[in-house]
């Protein structure tokens, strides 16, 4: 055994990971920025000009499109934050709150588009809610002629986004709670005469806000720039900016690239502006909040408000469950006429018929997801192991780097990245799609694994080393087994993120790589609900299997190791 330690390849891991995250985004942004100002030699744009912007501004629905984008984005973010805070404020002292993460995980792992498809069916004039109330309450024998999905104001879009964003924020809050002395501080605040919700809002929320700031910004950026949910639930004429940009990018007339790039850059500016405005709002809220706390008021409306928020969250939670259930019922419906609440006849024939069609995209989905997750897992483990070997812990800047892919609107860099892929002759390949997914899979994997990994008691590794184990052996024989559960769960999260990718798949795959998600979104436009149901169920099923596997596998392997539960 050599006593000299070679400079490990591990040291390269952080730089490699940052490169994989930032280089394509930076290159993609440049590749979108140049055409926005007229420069794209491949299609004849050799001079800088403002034609793209002019054509964007001349689009008849331009003002409305911008207004919808800002309106739905800001409303979704504000409501998501209020519901998540209210829910945590009023439920924090319930014993099952500690397991809330396990409750919302299945919803979080379900792709946005699957939930949006299910919600579209719930809300539609011929949907489940209308069916449940007809004809006995409404008197409808035929579906009414109103637009409840794709309404011009974007209400359905806001609702569809809320179903996923609220559980996401709740999970982030629950994670942040572990970093502060929440229980003890709550006990003190209660002893000083504050009700549970007030105690939480005044004594805990200000402490954890800095840790959920970036997740909130990610919700803002996502709500403003989402494409797949907007295609399914949002208004289409005029659509939100992100959808408009994608529509023009994929127009047969390539001259539309220029206004499309301009729209994408405008969206980027909107995201930056609104996040900056939110930052300003945070400061005001902090000042007002200080006064509110210092007044010492007890028994105010906080409790009532938090209860209302919790009820609303309950409604959104129920809607997400019903949305998936509705898709499942459609997928096995034989005949289901309006206004029957359930199908007249059930059959598996639909699944048999769709099997061949589903198998291809399902296979691609699994392969891409597994490859992206595998690569990301290797990189993240290498980064974390490098960190725990004492090569300095990354600071706040590193956290911002991880969040870049979640803060920059996807359309703003994916188009430019696609141009890059075309030049390298890689567009439309599976490798390109895996690479594009990796950009989004990496941050989530890192964020979910970093905390448990850093909480690992270093004395285990020291003990193993003192017994003569090499660092390699310590890693594989001690750390990985002890941390198997968080590693697998982080992997399941990453896989779910990959399964849900729409825009990244469409752009990197150049429309030639079909996954369950891209197919489902395409079908949304008008296909048979039985077909949509089958795709949405398949979309839901794969991440769920990964998640259940991640929970069950360590439980089975270590069934007789009670001591391991403390680490997991």
């Amino acid at each position: 055994m050599s006593m000299v330690r070679r400079p490990g390849v591990l040291r390269l891991a952080p730089a490699l990971t940052v490169g994989i995250l930032l280089l394509p985004i930076a290159a993609g942004l440049v590749g979108t920025l140049l055409p926005a100002f007229g420069y794209l030699p491949a299609i004849g744009g050799r001079t800088f000009n403002l034609d793209g912007w002019r054509r964007l501004a001349d689009y008849p629905g331009f003002g409305t499109s911008v207004a919808i984008t800002i309106g739905t984005g800001v409303l979704t973010s504000a409501l998501a934050v209020i519901l998540a805070f209210g829910c945590c404020a009023s439920l924090h002292d319930r014993p099952w709150m500690r397991r809330l993460g396990a409750w919302v995980a299945p919803i979080l792992s379900t792709p946005h588009s699957a939930i949006a498809l299910g919600l579209a069916f719930l809300l539609a004039p011929s949907g489940w809610i209308a069916r449940a109330l007809s004809p006995w309450l409404t008197g409808w024998i035929l579906p009414p002629d109103v637009a409840t999905v794709g309404d011009p104001a974007g209400v359905a879009l806001v609702l569809g986004l809320l179903l996923k964003e609220v559980p996401y924020l709740i999970l982030m809050i629950v994670g942040a709670l572990n970093q502060v002395q929440a229980r003890a501080h709550l006990a003190i605040a209660r002893a000083l005469g504050y009700g549970p919700a007030e105690a939480w809002l005044k004594a805990i929320l200000p402490q954890i806000y800095p840790q959920i700031r970036l997740p909130i910004y990610a919700v803002i950026a996502f709500s403003l720039s989402v494409v797949d949910v907007a295609l399914i639930l949002g208004p289409s004429n005029p659509p939100p900016l992100a959808v408009l940009a994608v529509r023009w990018f994929s127009d047969a007339d390539i001259q539309f690239y220029f206004p499309a790039a301009a729209a994408a850059i405008l969206l980027l500016l909107l995201v930056i502006g609104i996040i900056a405005a939110w930052r300003g709002f945070e400061r005001c809220a902090m000042l007002v909040g200080r006064r509110w706390i210092a007044r010492g008021g007890r028994g105010g409306i906080a409790t009532t408000a938090a209860t209302m928020a919790t009820l609303l969250f309950g409604v959104t939670f129920a809607l997400s469950v019903l949305a998936i259930a509705g898709m499942a019922v459609w997928s096995v419906a034989d005949q289901w006429r309006f206004p029957d609440a359930l199908p007249q006849a059930w059959s598996l024939a639909n699944w048999m018929r769709r099997f061949d069609g589903l198998a291809g995209p399902a296979w691609v989905t699994v392969v891409v997801g597994a490859l992206a997750t595998g690569v990301a897992l290797c990189l993240v483990l290498a980064c974390l192991e490098n960190e725990s070997r004492g090569h300095r812990r990354p600071g706040a800047a590193a956290l911002w780097i991880l969040y870049v892919p979640l803060l920059v609107p996807q359309v703003a860099f994916l188009f430019g990245a696609q141009v890059l892929l075309v030049r390298m002759n890689l567009d439309g390949t599976l490798a390109a799609v895996v690479w594009a997914h990796l950009i989004f899979v990496l941050p989530y994997l890192f964020l979910s694994l970093a905390d448990p990994w850093r909480a690992f008691d270093p004395r285990y590794a020291q003990t193993a080393a003192s017994l003569g184990a090499s660092r390699m052996r310590v890693f594989f024989a001690v750390k990985l087994p002890i941390l198997l559960r968080p590693v697998l769960i982080a992997g399941a999260v990453a896989f779910a993120v990959s399964v849900g990718q729409y825009l990244a798949t469409v752009f990197a795959g150049n429309g030639r790589v079909a996954t369950l998600t891209t197919e489902a979104v395409t079908l949304a436009a008008g296909a048979d609900r039985r077909v949509i149901g089958a795709y949405a169920v398949a979309q839901t099923l794969f991440p769920l299997i990964a998640y259940v596997g991640a929970v069950l596998l360590p439980a089975l392997l270590f069934a007789h190791r009670r001591g391991l539960r403390g680490h997991q």
Binding site: Q181, H185, A187, I188, A191, R298
Partner: protein, 218 residues
């Protein structure tokens, strides 16, 4: 200084079980206003759990029976915020997001209105703790002894009817421990609060000067 309710704390057959195992055997106890009774026992004997039961923050994994009354008022099933029971832990638990003054304002009842009047009450409390002029300081910049005194003043400003002390002297070194102990007992006696101390340290119990009830490891 406003006088507290001046009613005794009464525990009637309080018994706490954990998973079918008796943690605290049935305990009946009266603590008179101005008295400081002590419950002594080794760590893990459930002393803190008993205080959590009295203050209403007991973890639901425990099964607790018996009644807690203050004077004629039965508080056994009241939510913690309506019990008027002040509690002091071994950590000062000052809220890190608030200044020293705002930590105290958090506790001061809202019926003390007007910024100047609230400020005056807070300054008065700080003066009592020998910390005049500390209102705008970040709690993190205070010494351990200073923080402990702020924490006690915070509890007292909320005008509790009973004071519970959950090993509050544990983390202080010998000299500080002596000083802070006197500070706490003087203030509690001054306000005529029924006070219940739990500790595993015999000198704490001696300093409290009241009855001592021993608890064994279950």
């Amino acid at each position: 200084m406003k006088q507290a309710l001046l009613a005794p704390l009464h525990l009637a057959s309080v018994r706490i079980d954990l998973a079918g195992r008796e943690l605290i055997p049935p305990l009946t106890l009266d603590v008179e206003p101005g008295e400081c009774a002590t419950i002594m026992g080794p760590s893990g004997c459930g002393k803190s759990t008993l205080l959590a039961f009295i203050s209403g923050t007991i973890d639901p994994v425990f099964r607790a029976t018996g009644r807690v009354t203050i004077g004629a008022r039965d508080i056994t099933v009241l939510p913690p915020e309506h019990r008027h029971i002040g509690i002091q832990f071994q950590d000062d638990l000052l809220f890190p997001h608030l200044s020293v003054g705002d930590n105290l304002a958090f506790a001061l009842p809202a019926r003390v209105r007007g910024r100047s009047q609230r400020r005056a009450r807070i300054e008065q409390a700080l003066a009592e703790a020998d910390l005049s002029g500390f209102a705008d300081r970040d709690p993190a910049t205070l010494s351990g002894g200073q923080r402990a005194r702020v924490a006690l003043m915070r509890t007292l400003l909320s005008e509790p009817h009973v004071l519970l002390l959950d090993e509050p002297f544990n983390k202080l070194d010998a000299q500080l421990r002596h000083d802070f102990r006197r500070f706490v007992f003087e203030h509690a006696a001054d306000r005529g609060l029924p006070t219940l101390l739990v500790t595993h340290d015999a000198t704490d119990a001696q300093a409290a000067g009241g009855r001592v009830i021993g608890l064994a490891r279950p």
